[in-house]
C-alpha cells in the first residue's frame, strides 16, 4: 500500500491502545448538562429560553447571533436551571445554559426522509444550519458557513478527515468502524451541497481496520477514494491533510476553498447525515475518556454539555491521582483546572495524566539546534519567532512565520531546551492583533 503524507511533522507515541477497543457506548442520561453559547468559531449564540423554562431534548435553546454563529439545542429534557458562566473545555469561564434533567428523555419529533439523497442543496444547507452543526474535529467552524463557498470558488474535492493524529484519541476511529456507512452518506451529502465531483477519506495507517472497511464500502463508488496515510503528526491539520491527500497547497493566509477543497471531520459527516435524513440536531457526540490512569477507558456517545467529572465517573474513575486533565488531545488540547468543564460539540476526548506524566521540565536557553525548524509542518522558524516575541520584535516574528503558525505544537514537542514555543507564538499572535487594532 502506498502511504501518503506531508513534509515535516513528528512521531509521538500514539497511545491509542487504551481506548481503541472500547466500542461506542451510549452514556446514561446525565443529571444536568451545560450547553455553552460559544461552542464554535464566531459570535456566541443568543439564548431563547429563560430560567425555569421546560425544554425537550432537541429543542433549540439559543439562536445564532449573526451569519458566522450557531443554533444550540437542549441535549436532554428538563428544566433550564441557570444561565451563567461555566467552565468551558478550553479552561476559561464562559456563558452557558444549564439544564437539569427530568429523567424523561422526552425528545422533539424527528422525521425520516428515506430520499434524503434527493434533497436539494439549499434544503440540505438549511437543515445543517438548523441542526447547529459545527466542525467536530476541534476548531468548530459553523458547517453551514463552510459549505457556502462564494460562487467564484468552485469546489471539486471534499476530503473527510479520519486522520485522528492526536495521540490517545479514538472517537473518530470507533466512529469509522461503527458508523462507516453513515459517514459515507454524509460525505455524499457534503459533495452534493458544494457540488464536488470527488470525495476522499484520509485515514492514518495506525487504523488499518478502518481503512479496510472504508475501502470495501468505497470499492463500488467511482468518485470516492480512501487515502491511506503514513502516521505523522499533525496530519489531521487541514492544510497538511489536503496536501497529503490531493497534493494541493492551501495558499498561506488563505482557505482550502481557494484551491477547490473542503475538509470535514468524519464526526461532522455523521451529524450532517443525521440532520439531512432525520432533521436531528447535533445534541450528542462520541468522546474518548482515556489515559493510563482511567480504570476503564471509554468511547461514549454522550449528550453535548455532559460534565467531564460525570464522564470520568462512568469510566470507573481513576487508578491514581490525576496530575493533568486534558480536554482534547495532548498535542493541542487544554489542561483544565478541574473536571467541572462540560463537553462541547468539538470535544473529541478527555485525556487524564497521572502526576508523573503531568510533570514538565524547566525552560532552558535556546541551543539553536534547529529541530523545530526541521520538523515544522508549515516550514517556519519557531525558535526565531519565539525569541522575537520575547524581545518584542514583532516584525521579525512576522517575517519568520508568526501568522502562518497553526499551533500544532510539534516544535515544542521536539525542543531539547523545553522552550514553550507555542505559548510564545500565541503571545506573539495576541500582541500582533493588538498592534493591528491600534493602527
Amino acid at each position: 500500500m502506498q502511504l501518503k503524507t506531508f513534509p515535516g511533522g513528528i512521531h509521538p507515541h500514539d497511545e491509542k491502545h487504551y481506548s481503541k477497543a472500547a466500542a461506542i457506548s451510549k452514556f446514561p442520561t446525565p443529571n444536568r448538562v451545560i450547553i455553552h453559547l460559544s461552542q464554535h468559531i464566531g459570535a456566541p449564540s443568543t439564548p431563547i429560553v429563560a430560567v425555569g423554562d421546560t425544554v425537550l431534548k432537541g429543542q433549540p435553546i439559543a439562536e445564532p447571533s449573526g451569519f458566522v454563529s450557531l443554533t444550540q439545542h437542549a441535549s436532554i429534557s428538563g428544566k433550564v436551571s441557570k444561565i451563567a458562566k461555566f467552565m468551558h473545555p478550553n479552561g476559561a469561564m464562559s456563558m452557558a445554559i444549564e439544564i437539569t434533567s427530568d429523567g424523561l428523555e422526552q425528545m422533539v419529533e424527528l422525521s425520516n426522509d428515506e430520499n434524503f439523497m434527493e434533497l436539494d442543496a439549499e434544503i440540505l444547507k438549511e437543515r445543517i444550519a438548523a441542526a447547529g452543526i459545527c466542525g467536530m474535529g476541534g476548531a468548530g467552524f459553523p458547517t453551514h458557513v463552510k459549505l457556502s463557498p462564494p460562487a467564484d470558488k468552485p469546489i471539486d474535492v471534499v476530503v473527510l478527515n479520519g486522520v485522528e493524529c492526536e495521540p490517545y484519541l479514538t472517537s473518530d476511529h470507533r466512529l469509522m468502524l461503527e458508523r462507516a456507512e453513515d459517514i459515507l452518506h454524509g460525505l455524499k451529502l457534503i459533495m452534493k451541497v458544494v457540488g464536488a465531483k470527488k470525495g476522499m477519506i484520509g485515514i492514518e495507517a495506525n487504523k488499518p481496520d478502518a481503512i479496510l472497511l472504508m475501502e470495501k464500502l468505497c470499492a463500488k463508488e467511482k468518485n470516492l477514494e480512501v487515502v491511506a496515510l503514513k502516521m505523522q503528526y499533525p496530519q489531521g491539520a487541514e492544510k497538511q491533510l489536503i496536501f497529503a491527500a490531493t497534493g494541493r497547497k492551501v495558499p498561506a493566509g488563505g482557505l482550502p476553498m481557494a484551491i477547490g477543497v473542503v475538509v470535514q471531520n468524519v464526526g461532522t459527516s455523521v451529524a450532517i447525515y443525521e440532520a439531512a435524513r432525520y432533521r436531528k440536531p447535533l445534541i450528542d457526540r462520541v468522546i474518548s475518556i482515556t489515559g493510563s490512569i482511567v480504570k476503564s477507558p471509554q468511547n461514549f456517545l454522550a449528550p453535548i454539555g455532559t460534565l467531564y467529572s460525570e464522564l470520568v465517573e462512568a469510566s470507573g474513575g481513576t487508578t491514581a491521582a490525576i496530575g493533568k486533565a486534558i480536554s482534547g488531545g495532548p498535542m493541542m488540547g487544554f489542561a483544565l483546572p478541574s473536571l467541572d468543564a462540560a463537553m462541547t460539540k468539538g470535544s473529541s476526548g478527555l485525556v487524564l495524566f497521572n502526576q508523573k506524566e503531568a510533570r514538565s521540565m524547566a525552560e532552558h536557553t535556546c541551543l539553536r539546534c534547529a529541530r523545530c525548524v526541521d520538523i515544522c509542518p508549515m516550514n517556519l522558524m519557531p525558535s526565531i519567532i519565539a525569541n522575537a516575541v520575547k524581545y518584542n520584535d514583532l516584525d521579525m516574528a512576522v517575517k519568520t512565520g508568526l501568522n502562518d503558525c497553526i499551533k500544532c505544537g510539534s516544535c515544542a514537542f521536539v525542543c531539547p531546551a523545553q522552550i514553550r514555543l507555542v505559548q510564545w507564538i500565541d503571545t506573539g499572535k495576541l500582541r500582533y492583533a493588538e498592534a493591528q487594532r491600534k493602527k
Binding site: I10, P12, G91, P167, K239, F243, K249, V250, P251, A252, G254, S309, G317, T318, A321, I322, G323, K324, A325, I326, P330, M331, A335, L336, P337, S338, V351, F353, A358, R359, S360, M361, T365, C366, L367, R368, C369, A370, V373, D374, P377, N379, L380, M381, I384, K399, T400, G401, D404, A412, F413, V414, C415, P416, A417, Q418, R420, V422, Q423, D426
Partner: protein, 368 residues
C-alpha cells in the same frame, strides 16, 4: 475525582519526546569515545590523559565562572565537558599537560561564558581555544608529535615503493616521509622548489611525484582510515569518527546537511585542484583529503555544533559548502597544512547573516 487533587494547568503540547540538552550533550561525548579509544591505542595512554584533562579543566572553569556570576552551576549538562574534550582533540599526544588546561579555560571563559553561556556563544568555543593555543604556543602545538604505534607519522610506511635504494632519499626527503603528518607532506610537496630540490638530490627521478603518489596508495589510505598516523588526538581514525557520527545521525542529534556538503565540497575540489606541480594528480586524492587531518572530526562534531551554525536548511548547505571551500583553500594556498578549524570559525561568524538570508518560505506561500 478527589477534590484534593491539584491539577497542573500548562500550555499545550502536554507530551514531549524526552530529548533534553543534557541527553544531547552526553550523547555527543559518547560518540567521541571510539575516537578516544583509537587514539589511546595508537598514541598511548597519554592521549587519554590529555583528553580527560581538557574535559575536566573545562568543567572546573565553567563551574568557577558560574559561581562568580552567581548563576546556577550547570556543568552536569555535559556541554563544558564536551567542549574540553573537543579542545583536547585538537592537541597532539606529545603536548605538555598544561596545554589543554589553558586551552579549556580560554575556550570556556572567553569562548562561552563571556557571552552568557550555552546557546549564546558566536563561535565554537573549542575551536576558539585551539586558535588561541596555536597563536600563543605554536611550538608546543606543533612540535614533539608522537608517532603512531606501528607506522610512520606520514602514514607512508612502504618506503621501497618510493625508492628502490634508500640512499636515493636525501635527508630532506627522508625527513619528510618519516616525521610529519600526512597533510604536512602534501603541503610541502606543493612547493615546486622543494620538489625540484629533492628530485635533483635523488638523481633526477621524480621523487616528489612518487612520494605524493604514495599518499594515495591503498596502504596509506588504510592507515588514515584506521588512525595509524601522526596527528592531533581527534585526527586519529576516520573510521572511529565515522562510527560516532553514524550514532549521532541515527539518534537524530546531528543533521546530515552540513557534514555532507562540507565533505562533499572538499572531495570535489581536491579532485579538481589536488595535483602537485609537475606530477599531476591521482583519482584517489579526494579520499586522502577527506580522511586526513581533522575533516571528519570537524565536519561531524564541530561544524554541526548547534549554537554556532545556521538553523535554516538552506543555510546549513551554504555553511557546509563554505567550510569545504575554505578548508581546501587553506590546504592548497594557505600557510597551514590543515584548514578545518579556521574554516569553521570563519563560517561561524557568518552564521547570523546566512540565517537571515535563507529564511524559508512558509508552506503555501507563493513568490511575489
Amino acid at each position: 475525582m478527589n477534590s484534593q487533587d491539584r491539577l497542573i494547568v500548562s500550555p499545550a503540547p502536554h507530551v514531549h519526546d524526552k530529548t533534553t540538552v543534557k541527553n544531547v550533550m552526553w550523547n555527543v561525548v559518547l560518540a567521541l569515545v571510539p575516537a578516544l579509544l583509537f587514539a589511546t591505542y595508537y598514541w598511548g595512554v597519554r592521549a587519554l590523559l590529555l583528553s580527560l584533562t581538557g574535559a575536566v579543566a573545562a568543567v572546573v572553569c565553567e563551574a568557577l565562572i558560574q559561581k562568580l556570576r552567581k548563576v546556577p552551576v550547570t556543568v552536569h549538562d555535559g556541554s563544558a565537558f564536551l567542549t574540553g574534550l573537543l579542545l583536547a582533540f585538537n592537541i597532539h599526544a606529545g603536548a605538555p599537560i598544561w596545554l589543554p588546561i589553558v586551552g579549556a579555560f580560554f575556550a570556556i571563559g572567553v569562548g562561552k561564558q563571556v557571552f552568557g553561556g550555552l546557546g549564546n556563544n558566536p563561535v565554537n568555543p573549542a575551536l576558539l581555544g585551539r586558535a588561541f593555543l596555536l597563536a600563543s604556543w605554536p611550538t608546543q602545538m606543533t612540535a614533539g608529535w608522537v608517532a603512531a604505534k606501528d607506522s610512520a607519522m606520514s602514514g607512508i610506511n612502504n618506503l621501497s615503493r618510493i625508492a628502490t635504494n634508500l640512499e636515493q632519499l636525501s635527508p630532506k626527503a627522508y625527513e619528510l616521509v618519516t616525521s610529519a603528518t600526512p597533510l604536512k607532506v602534501a603541503q610541502t610537496l606543493r612547493d615546486s622548489s622543494f620538489v625540484a630540490d629533492i628530485n635533483a638530490q635523488a638523481g633526477g627521478i621524480d621523487l616528489g611525484g612518487r612520494i605524493f603518489g604514495s599518499l594515495t596508495e591503498m596502504e596509506t589510505l588504510k592507515s588514515l582510515f584506521w588512525g595509524n598516523i601522526g596527528g592531533c588526538i581527534g585526527e586519529v581514525s576516520a573510521f572511529a569518527l565515522l562510527l560516532g557520527a553514524a550514532y549521532l545521525l541515527y539518534k537524530n542529534i546531528i543533521e546530515w546537511r552540513i557534514p555532507l556538503y562540507y565533505i562533499g565540497t572538499v572531495f570535489v575540489l581536491t579532485f579538481i585542484f589536488g595535483g602537485i606541480p609537475g606530477s599531476g594528480t591521482s583519482v584517489m586524492l579526494p579520499f586522502f583529503h577527506i580522511f586526513s587531518g581533522g575533516l571528519m572530526l570537524g565536519a561531524f562534531f564541530m561544524a554541526t555544533d548547534y549554537t554556532t551554525t545556521p538553523i535554516t536548511k538552506r543555510g546549513r548547505i551554504i555553511f557546509g559548502i563554505g567550510c569545504g571551500l575554505l578548508t581546501v583553500m587553506i590546504r592548497f594556498v594557505g600557510g597551514y597544512p590543515e584548514g578545518v578549524s579556521y574554516s569553521i570559525l570563519f563560517m561561524n561568524v557568518m552564521t547570523p547573516l546566512i540565517d537571515m538570508m535563507t529564511l524559508p518560505k512558509a508552506f503555501g506561500k507563493v513568490k511575489k
